[in-house]
Structures are given as C-alpha cells and as structure tokens.
Amino acid sequence: MTANHTPQVREPLVHLSRRTEFSPLRAWGVRLAALVLGLIVCGLAAFLLIEKLQQNPGRIGDFYYAFIKGSFGTSRKLWKMLKNLSILLCIALALTPAFRMRFWNTGAEGQTLMGVLGAIAVDFYFGGKWPEALLIPVMLLAAIIFGGVWGLIPALFKARFNTNETLFTLMMNYVATFVVSYFLVIWVPSGSSSLAKLKYGKLPSVVNDYFLIILIALLLTIGLYIYLNYSKHGYEISVVGESVRTAQYVGISVPKVILRTMLLSGMLCGLTGFLIGSGLDQTITTESVGGQGFTAIMVAWMGNFNPLMMILTSGLIQILNQGAAQISQDFNVSGALPDVIVGIMLFFVIGCEFFINYQLHFRRAQSKEAVR
C-alpha cells in the first residue's frame, strides 16, 4: 500500500523567509565579510586579467596596497577623495527627501547640471563687473533657482496629472544637456564649444580649495538628517511616501508635499551644481556632472536613505574608484579593468544586503530540525 507512495512534489531545495530580527552588529559583520570576500575575488580576477601579476605572483601585495594608496597614499589624494565624496554625497542627499516620499527622481544629473549652468551664466555675464562678494552669492542663488525649477517641473506634472516621475525626470536630464549645449554655442562662437576657465567667481579657498566643499557637505548631511527625522516636513514626507491614503485621511495636502519636497530636492542639486561650477571648474561642459547624478541614486539606496549612512556609501564608492584607478596606473593596464574591479566589489557589497534581509532554509537542514 505504501510502496507507491512517493510524493513527487516536495518543498523546493532552498526557500527564503524574511528575517524579523537581526542585530545591527551581525549585519555589519555580514557587510564586512562581503567586503573581504569581494577583495579576494578581485584578487583572483586580477590574476586572470593582469599579465604582470601572472608573471610575478608576489606582487599581489602591491595590488591590494594600490587599493589603499589610491585614496590615502598622499594627502593630495586624500583631499581629492574627500572632495569627490562630498560632491557625490551632496547629490545623494538632494535625492533623499524625494526618495523617502517614494518619488523616484532620476533627474539629479540634469538638476545639478542646471545648477552649474545657473552659476556659470551669472559668472559669464557679470564676472569682473561685480565685486566677488556680490558675484558669488548671486551665482549661488542662480544655481539654486535653476536646480529648483528643474526639480519642480516634473513635480507639478506629477501633482496635477499624476505623470510617471521616473521617466519625466530622466527625460529632463537630456533637456538640461541640450540647454547647456545651446548656451555653449552662444558663449563660444568660435566652434570649439569649450568654454575657457573663467577668471572670476571662484569660491574662496579656505585651508585649501576643497575644504569649504567638504564642510558644506558635512553641514548638509547633519541638516538633512534633522530635517527628515525630526521636523514636521520630514514626517509628512514619510507619511506621503508610505501611503497617500493615510496622508489624505489625516489631512495632509499631498500635492503640496510633493511640490515642496521636489523643490527642495532640486534646490539641493542646484547647490551642488554651484559647488562644481564655482568651487571647482569655473567653466561648464555638458559633462560637468559626469554621471554622478546617477551614481548618487545608488549611494542613496545603499545608504538606506539615511544621510549618515550615505557618508559611508559615497565614501566606499569613491575609495573603490580611486583604488581601481591607482591599480590600473601601477600595473600599467588601462581600459575596463577599473570598472571590473569596482563592479565586483559592488556586487558583493550590494548582494550581501540580501543575506541581511532574508534567511535561506535548505531542505535537508529543515528536516533535521523536524526530527528534533
């Protein structure tokens, strides 16, 4: 009777369940392990890809040393890393209020570029005519207004017509690029379309060229952390993000919150644009933001939309970038290798979050449990 009883449908080999409680300490342990594992895999990849390493396996130590040297080798490299970290962090911070509201703003690239344009336009037309003490604040103001308007336009359409904000903000990036191209054609009629570095409107140097930028990023992080977690506006953002119906139920005006938050998001992008335009470049190209508007999306997500965590995530990305660049310099390999290394590391770092949020149950392990 039982001979033919072999149920073919069994539980799958592995199944997942969401972890309910996981101590932060253990979570950080998992993250650290992922980092170490990533570095090991990077080393293995390096053996496959770098000829010099194959000829002389003893140089593997140099390989890992280059990772650190890229960001910490000299004080100049350290400052550069902190500067890059700050710019990336500022854009990620700008995105955070919108993301907490579940408004998927993919337009930070364009909003920041518009900020650069605002600052440089004022510099171009009034540089040298106005004293620096007037010029720079007006550049800042223009940058914030340009970025804010660029953020507000998709929000208006979202609030009024419920358009899809992801596509809308993405498209606005291209529009921003073309607006910049248009002005470059006007400003540089000679045909090269590259604007020479402007003489005026440079953010004053305190300690060094980068210190002020880093300080602003730090203040912005703390300010935004307080705004999001301890202010009434921040609370409204969280409620709207979680459930529009709940927001309506307690009398929060959802369109108002969307408009206000996206204006803020755009304005902060504009501020970052000012830091790039006035603090670093004193010129503009269509590539002034250089894709950081998109990298910042990842920084914000990896940082769990927590401004303090985002210092770590933007730092990680920056250290990886500079480390990988150092490796390609030291081992005289170019091309895709830095991207491969950064890619491997991010795979492990992002992938480990899965193991923090979910638990795997294997079939065999479970039947043992059942016996017990």
Binding site: S243, T246, Y249
Partner: protein, 567 residues
C-alpha cells in the same frame, strides 16, 4: 458515527518558513455528514483544507480516501478523487456565463454543446434545490449567485467531498438559510460537506460534527448535539471567554450629527450614495448594516471629509449650550461676529453684547469663561477637508476599514503613528515626540497591546494589536463622534470583545458612535439603532433591541421594485 469513512488525514504537518501552520493534524470525514472546521483567524483551517484540495502539499502525514492512501498534488488530482473546494474568493471569469464557467477546464468527449451543458447544469440545480440561470453572465450576478455557480462547478465535476471556505461571510440571513437547505439535501444524497467557519451559531445550526483547530493543532472533534457555544469558544480560544457585550441604555441621547440628502458620485460617475439622511445621537451606537459595498465606506469617508459630495448637508451639533466660548478654535473676530448674532449669554443669564468694548476687555471676558453659548453650535462639515474639520473644533474620529493602508503607517512605530493626528501642534517646525510617546505607552498598557516596543513598525504586529493601536489613538482624541468601519474584521474573539467594550464605553461617555459591521448578530447585540443600507441608499433605520436578523436581511437586499410592492 456509523457512517462510512470518506477521507482520513493522518499526522498532517505544514510549515511556511518558520511558521508552523498545521501540526500533526488527524481528521476524519464521513459520507453523508456536514463537518464544521472551526477556529479563529490564522489557526490553519484553510491551510489544512487546501491540502486536501491540492493547493498545498503537506510536509508530513498521509491522506487516505476510502482507506487507500493517495497523493494529491494539484486541484486536478483532488477532482479525480472527488474532492472539490469552494474558495472564499471566487475564481470565476466575469465575462463568461454560468454554464461556461462551470465547464471551463473539464475535458469531455465530443463537441461542446451549449444545450447539453445547460441541461446538465439545470439538472444538478434542481436536484439539490438551487436556482440558477445557466445563460447569465457572472458580472450580472450577486455574490450569492456566484457562490451557487462555484458549488455547481464542483458538483458538475462529480465531487463527493465538498469543502466550503467561509461560505456565509458575504451572504444575507435569507441566503444563508437557502444555502444551508441545499447543504442538507446534499448530505442526504450521501455527499460529505466540510464548512470552514469561525461563526458559532452557524456551526450549531447546520453541522453534525465540529472539528476545532487552535494555533495549527487539532484540539478536538465533537458531535454538534453534545456541545454548546461557550464550550466551543473555550476550545477555540483556549480559555473561557465572556460572550456578553453588555449593552447599556442610552442616557439623554441628543442629536450630534444630522445628515440630510447626501449624494455622491464616484470617479466613474456611478451614483454611490443616494439621498442619504439620518441622525446620529450622542450616547448611542448607530449600527450601519448592508451587503459589502453598499456605500458604507463612502458614507463614512464623506463625513470625514474625504469625498467630494454632489449635494447634501452634514451638520455637527457641537454640545456647547451653556458652555463658555474659547479662542481655541475661534478668532476674536469670529467671537465678535457671533456676539453680534446674539449667540452668547453671561453667567447670570443675560445676553452678552460687546458693543463699545475694547479688544483687550473682550479677550479677558472670554478667557475668564464669562461668555457662554445660548445654544449648541451648528457646524456644517460639507466640503471641508479633514484638516479644516479639525480646525473648526469638531472632534471627529474615524477608524477606517483599511487599517494599515489608511488609518496607520505600517513602517512607523506606535509613537510615530500616535502623531499622525497631532503632529502639527507646537509652534516651530520640529516634531515633539514626548507626548505621543507617553500616549503610545499608555495605550500599550491600557489595551494590552503585544509589541516589542514603541518603535517596532506596526506592520509587524498582529491584526488585533494593530486595531487596538488605531482605535486607541482615535479614542485618545476624546471624540464627540466616533466612526468605525468593520473594526473587528480579522480579529480573534478576545480582541473583538475588547473593541466592543471600548465602543460601548465611548457611548456611555456621550459619544455618538457609528459602527459599520458585517455580523448581524453583533450589530443586533451591540447597537442601539441600526441603519440599513441597500445599494447606496438608506432602506430603513430600526431599533436594534426589537429588530430581527431576518428583518435586516430583507432590508439589505430588497430591490426598488419589491419595496414599491411592499408599500
């Protein structure tokens, strides 16, 4: 039971991740009987039956049919063994007719003949006493008709064991009677009927035996005629439960909310509220009964300021007679305006006039509580947003049907959820979490909310605890009107009674309570008056102390035509 065994379950165990849904359950089903599977929400009764119906596969244990062990891997296997399940949520194609739905997926020899199928469907229907039109489209059917299609679908496939999951949840008393009649005919025909339910009175009315499940375990199977309500409850809950709602008589019931001629159209232009008029009194629970989707939700949302009304008035009677006016919700100008309309008198009863007085003196007089209202204040809530309603000083609380999607924010802790109503208080832009935290701790203690802490996201709490948090917050607001939509849906018996007692206590403190419910027994036991809704209109208001379930059922379902005939 000297009947023949139809199906046996031996040591059935089912896990979902770390949750043990069924733990070594043994259950016998006989031919020609109605077995009730009784248990609270989440006790694993549906999971258990889903394993016979081929939806889930047990981790451990055996299923025997007619003494032979079988493997049921899919609903198709289940049908081959003569098992059919009627799920709580119907699985029908709206655009098809009844007959088309019934034959869907059945492999028969020869060409499909509409006439043959119709004839067979009609034959099954008349054999067991159903009434069905095989040519009727599903989208034209009432819930009860859809259920009939589901049952015939199972019979058409030759099922001998029928499992019905909460079959009465959406039916009116008359429809329930009809269903039970049909079930008895099927039983006499030798079929085995299993009904999954948590309603005791139905168990006692229709079943032969009752199997009680609690937390995934089979507690006992008893013969229905040897048991009673309190014994079953005790087995179901695990301890003695007081099933008395203890309704008190209203004291000095005064009109609190007067609704007249409410009309509402939804976004698609459907007339969802039709000329609704009623009065809700203070110190009274007004029940709102009706088939699900008859406009109950829209009515409460209209009052709460969440729906744009076409016409009608919602007048709130603020019980201010002989009470002092304050600047809490009124500006100095508004107070002066009201004085001009002779709205006030002083402590001695003389009319108050501010003529020729300085602003400072008026303010002092008001702040000293020397200016009293002549009459209750009337405030029209029509076209006001929830925020405006609150700013007018109308203390209106609303426990919506969708707790986590509307009443609370699932990802936030209890403290942050307490703030939802009050976070705007305070002069500056920063939040004050002290008072909400104190309130959260008070509610956790007073209502015995089971939670790891005030920071734990409310989404992680069980249904009953979520509801306690929501009701607790709305009551903490010391409302004058408290509206609750299906506040005990999905709750266990203990939590349900906690909510009933809370509502009764609110009524006793003078609050006008509006209670939208689905269980007519509860409505009749808890409320003072019951308003019955029928497709968006009020079909009558009855005294809950004298009305019967049958009367309510008729009012819930009769159409305009029958209403006219009745006149």
């Amino acid at each position: 039971m000297d009947n023949q065994l139809a199906l046996q379950m031996r040591g059935i165990t089912k896990r979902f991740g770390s949750v043990l849904a069924n733990n070594h359950v043994d259950l016998d089903i006989y031919r020609g009987e109605i077995l009730a599977v009784l248990g609270e929400n989440g006790c694993g009764k549906t999971t258990l039956m889903n394993m016979i119906a081929g939806i889930y596969f047990p981790d451990e244990g055996q299923i025997l049919i007619d003494g032979r062990e079988v493997v049921i891997r899919s609903p198709k296997d289940a049908f081959e063994h003569g098992i059919g399940m009627i799920h709580q949520h119907f699985k029908l194609v709206d655009l098809f007719t009844a007959a088309e739905n019934i034959v869907l997926g059945v492999h028969e020899e020869g060409a499909f003949s509409r006439r043959d199928v119709n004839a067979r469907v009609t034959a099954i229907a008349s054999k067991y006493g159903f009434s069905i039109d095989p040519e009727k489209k599903i989208y034209d059917m009432s819930v009860s008709e859809k259920q009939t299609v589901e049952i015939i679908k199972v019979l058409y496939r030759g099922a001998d064991i029928l499992i019905l999951d909460e079959p009465t949840a959406v039916l009116t008393p008359q429809e329930i009677d009809r269903l039970f009649q049909v079930l008895r005919v099927m039983k006499a025909d030798g079929k085995s009927i299993v009904i999954i339910t948590h309603k005791l009175n139905e168990v006692l009315e229709v079943s032969d035996r009752v199997a009680i499940l609690r937390k995934g375990e089979h507690i006992a199977t008893v013969s229905t005629r040897d048991t009673n309500e309190s014994e079953l409850t005790e087995m179901m809950v695990g301890k003695k439960v007081d099933l008395d709602i203890r309704r008190s008589d209203p004291v000095d019931a005064q009109p609190r909310l007067v609704v007249t001629g409410l009309n509402l159209y939804d976004a698609e232009g459907v007339h969802v509220l039709k000329d609704i008029s009623f009065t809700a009194n203070g110190s009274e629970i007004l029940g709102i009964a009706g088939i699900a989707g008859s406009g109950q939700r829209e009515l409460l949302e209209s009052i709460a300021g969440l729906q744009p009304l076409k016409s009608g008035e919602i007048i709130f009677h603020n019980p201010k007679k002989n009470k002092p006016v304050t600047f809490f919700h009124k500006s100095l100008r508004r107070v002066e305006e009201l004085a001009g309309q002779h709205a006030f008198h002083d402590a001695a009863g003389n009319p108050v006039s501010f003529a020729g007085m300085k602003k400072k003196d008026i303010q002092k007089l008001v702040n000293d509580g020397q200016v009293l209202f002549n009459e209750d204040e009337l405030i029209n809530l029509r076209d006001k947003t929830p925020l405006q309603i609150r700013e007018l000083g109308v203390r209106l609380s609303f426990v919506p049907e969708d707790r986590l999607g509307m009443g609370l924010v699932g990802s936030m802790g209890i403290t942050d959820n307490m703030m939802l109503r009050s976070y705007r208080k305070g002069p500056h832009g920063l939040l004050d979490r002290k008072k909400p935290k104190a309130l959260a701790e008070r509610i956790i203690e007073e209502l015995q909310v089971v939670t790891p802490g005030t920071q734990t996201p409310v989404r992680r709490l069980s249904g009953g605890n979520v509801q306690k948090v929501l009701v607790g917050r709305e009551i903490a607001f010391t409302p004058k009107v408290l509206m609750a939509a299906y506040p005990v849906r999905g709750l266990d018996i203990n939590s349900s009674y906690t909510i009933y007692h809370l509502l009764t206590r609110q009524k006793e403190t003078g609050v006008a309570v509006l209670f939208v419910g689905e269980d007519l027994d509860v409505l009749l036991a808890l409320c003072d008056r019951i308003l019955v809704m029928n497709s968006g209109a009020v079909s009558g208001i009855v005294d809950a102390r004298t009305a019967t379930k049958e009367q309510l059922g008729l009012m819930m379902t009769r159409t305009d035509r029958t209403r006219k005939e009745a006149v």
